[in-house]
Amino acid sequence: MFSGLKERLQAVRNRLGGSIGAVAEAAPPAPAEQAAPSTPATPQKSPTLADKVKILIIDRELVVSAKDIAEALDELEMTLLESDVALPVTDAIIANVRTSLVGKHRKIGESVDALVVGALKSALLNVLGKGFDLPAYIRAHERPVKILFTGVNGTGKTTTVAKIGAYLKKQGFSVVIGAGDTFRAGAIEQIGVHAERLGIKIIEHQTGADPSAVLFDTVQYAVSHKTDVVLADTAGRFHTKANLMSQLDKIRRVMKPDLIVYVDEAVAGNDAVVRAAEFDRTVGADAIVLTKVDMDSRGGAAISIAHTIGKPLLFLGTGQEYEDIIPFDPDAVVEELLGCGA
């Protein structure tokens, strides 16, 4: 997973380490020059001065300047961009790494690597935030827990609903699915087949019906049958379509979801940021599911979206089978990206 980003980040890490290391090697002559003019000025104290210089060279703390790491940061910028991290988010991460590195004091003996990795790691963790433990949330919450899935067209909402249904069922929860995509041709059939295969109850109306009504019925069903979780599928919609967004808002008012899960795909580029922000602004989002992570994704979209709306990632979708879904663990992802032992 995210192997592309991983390799490149490691290259940058070496590079950053390298340029700071180079500073370390180049640094000792500088204090020596400083010492030279001062020697004639205080000839009587030359032994003490020699000691001072010695101390200066050996114990001197190095100060990392912006210039030292500028080139390496440029490279990091390109790396992030190539990995689909959106431009504004890239800027934010670079700024973060820069502020945490520049002006930092480092003893010569200290490992350069640790310093750089530490900065990158905290920047990334900062952006990715904490994961989200869905089973724990459901256990702690009053049933039924109503989860609404939103997102633009073709990101994999329906498949994700099926996968999460299968996952929760395995965890011992009872699940009902609401076929809220009443717009796209074949959508009800699609979710219907998934539900049948998984042995999950599904509430559906006809194509063209009001999705709010379908999902309301689903919640009613869950209440009267004491079902643990309601998974509400919806039609994909673009954030630019005001009427479709207000339809989503109506769904939200009618079914009162406990969690709004925003679904987007890992292969999306810069637009991921624009639409995530717009969905978050209009109907809200409590958690994110990132799909199609198996497409040799570089993982940038995860970083972009998480940074933009500041909400936790819930799951990663990693394939076409029902079990191809993994709960998101930011520490594990960052560890993997930067290589262990940091």
Partner: protein, 442 residues
């Protein structure tokens, strides 16, 4: 976000305007802004770097042609280099052919298949569609429902599991038709079984065209995926979908560069008519925020067959309810106002959302209301007082509130177009005044 980028691009261009010789610093700034704009539009990082290098060298080395100023000179180079990126437009011939659709999961293959079927049908060809997606539940239902709407035969079997078999049967069943489009299951390059499947389908169908469907939002991954698809079946055309969102489709440029093919169509909308032929110059103009006149002209021409819309008069500001009626009639063919506005060369001008917030059902209501107006009222909406409003409402089976809403919408449109008029003639267009007027409206 794109808007701030294209305006900083414009600022950078402005700095070149007064110069007598090409200024290195100004070119560098322009190139940097251009890079940011293109990267935000998901154009491949390597492509962007190559492009900016070429622009920098050419701008500084090439001699300034006579009668051009520095700004024009540099802009022309930028433009030429960008156009080179999109290669040639792929040809769509109106002849018997088999088209194989390929693409990632959720890129919009099935919807696009139906749209292309509609495109050829409108051009008078006999079209058939084969559903070779035997994996995704509901895929056949989706395609057959879409095809039924436009009366195009759709061959498939929801219970089938072997795509190769169903395609063979489908080809036999559709052999009397001229254009056969084969919709396939979504797949990505790291699924060897599925890649083998599409290689086999390509052999079985002897497809004349293999078109790759690319989501406008697809990022840097586009390049790698397109490369693998190209290696497998030899892609000879790219279709960009979901251009009605905010994504700019830069990923498709990577696909074009990898496959050395052109962009065939652009999909922008959920209805079956929302498919445009690709125009390289227009696409680039839009990428840079300079408007896309040519695509608009094409659309207006097509729409005129039904509604006779006087764009000329509209742009001049003579806009009556009658014009609005025509516009609403033509709307199905022209696409929503927002799409049209995006194509006008008014750069990054932002119109207030209210202008676009009219749903298609409302449009239908408006037309019915206008049907119960007198010719005089249509020409001079100022005549409509409350008693006339009552009459119109009664005639259309609506309420006076609806009439008022219609008039409000008309006024908003009218003012918008008046604003454009000032802009078109290069006059003293006051953006702020226009915005102020609109904020008063809402």
């Amino acid at each position: 976000m794109m808007d701030t980028l294209s305006s900083s691009l414009k600022d950078a261009l402005k700095k070149l305007a007064g110069k007598a010789v090409v200024d290195r610093a100004a070119v560098d700034e322009l190139v940097k802004n251009l890079q940011r704009a293109l990267l935000s539009a998901d154009v491949n990082v390597k492509l962007v770097m190559e492009l900016s290098k070429a622009i920098r060298t050419r701008s500084l080395d090439e001699e300034l042609p006579k009668n051009t100023n520095v700004r024009e000179h540099v802009l022309r180079i930028v433009y030429q280099e960008l156009v080179r990126l999109v290669y040639a437009t792929a040809d769509v011939k109106l002849e018997p052919q088999v088209i194989l659709m390929a693409g990632l999961q959720g890129s919009g293959k099935t919807t696009t298949t139906a749209k292309i079927a509609r495109y050829f049908q409108k051009k008078g060809m006999k079209v058939g569609v084969i559903c070779a997606d035997t994996f995704r539940p509901g895929a056949y239902d989706q395609l057959s429902t879409l095809c039924a709407k436009i009366n195009v035969p759709c061959f498939g079997d929801p219970k089938a599991t072997d795509a190769r078999k169903i395609v063979k049967e489908g080809l036999a069943a559709t052999k009397d038709l001229e254009v056969i489009i084969v919709d396939t299951q979504g797949r990505h390059a790291l699924e060897p079984d599925l890649i083998q499947e599409i290689i086999d389908l390509n052999v079985i169908t002897k497809a004349n065209h293999r078109w790759l469907v690319i989501d406008a939002a697809l990022g840097q991954q586009a390049s790698e995926q397109a490369k693998r698809f190209h290696e497998a079946i030899g892609i000879d055309g790219v279709i960009i979908t979901k251009m009605d969102g905010t994504a700019k489709g830069g990923g498709a440029l990577s696909a074009v560069a990898e496959t050395k093919s052109g962009i065939v169509f652009i999909g922008a909308g959920e209805t079956i008519e929302n498919l445009e032929r690709f125009d390289a110059n227009g696409f680039i103009s839009r990428l840079l925020g300079m408007g896309d006149l040519q695509a608009l002209m094409e659309k207006a021409q097509e729409a005129q067959m039904g509604g006779e819309m006087d764009m000329e008069a509209m742009m001049k500001g003579h806009f009556t309810l009658r014009d609005m009626y025509k516009q609403l009639e033509a709307l199905n063919k022209m696409g929503p106002l927002k799409q049209i506005m995006n194509m006008l060369p008014i750069g990054n001008m932002q119109l207030p959302e209210g202008v676009y917030d009219v749903t298609s059902t409302k449009m239908v209501r408006y037309r019915i209301l206008m049907d119960s107006m007198t010719p005089k009222e249509l020409d001079d909406p100022g005549l409509i007082n409350s008693s006339r409003m009552q009459r119109i409402a009664r005639g259309a089976g609506g309420t006076p509130e609806e009439v008022r809403e219609l008039l409000k919408y008309y006024k908003m449109m009218h003012k918008t177009l008046k604003g454009l008029k000032g802009m078109g003639s290069g006059g003293k267009f006051n953006m702020q005044r226009l915005m102020k007027r609109f904020s008063g409206m809402q």
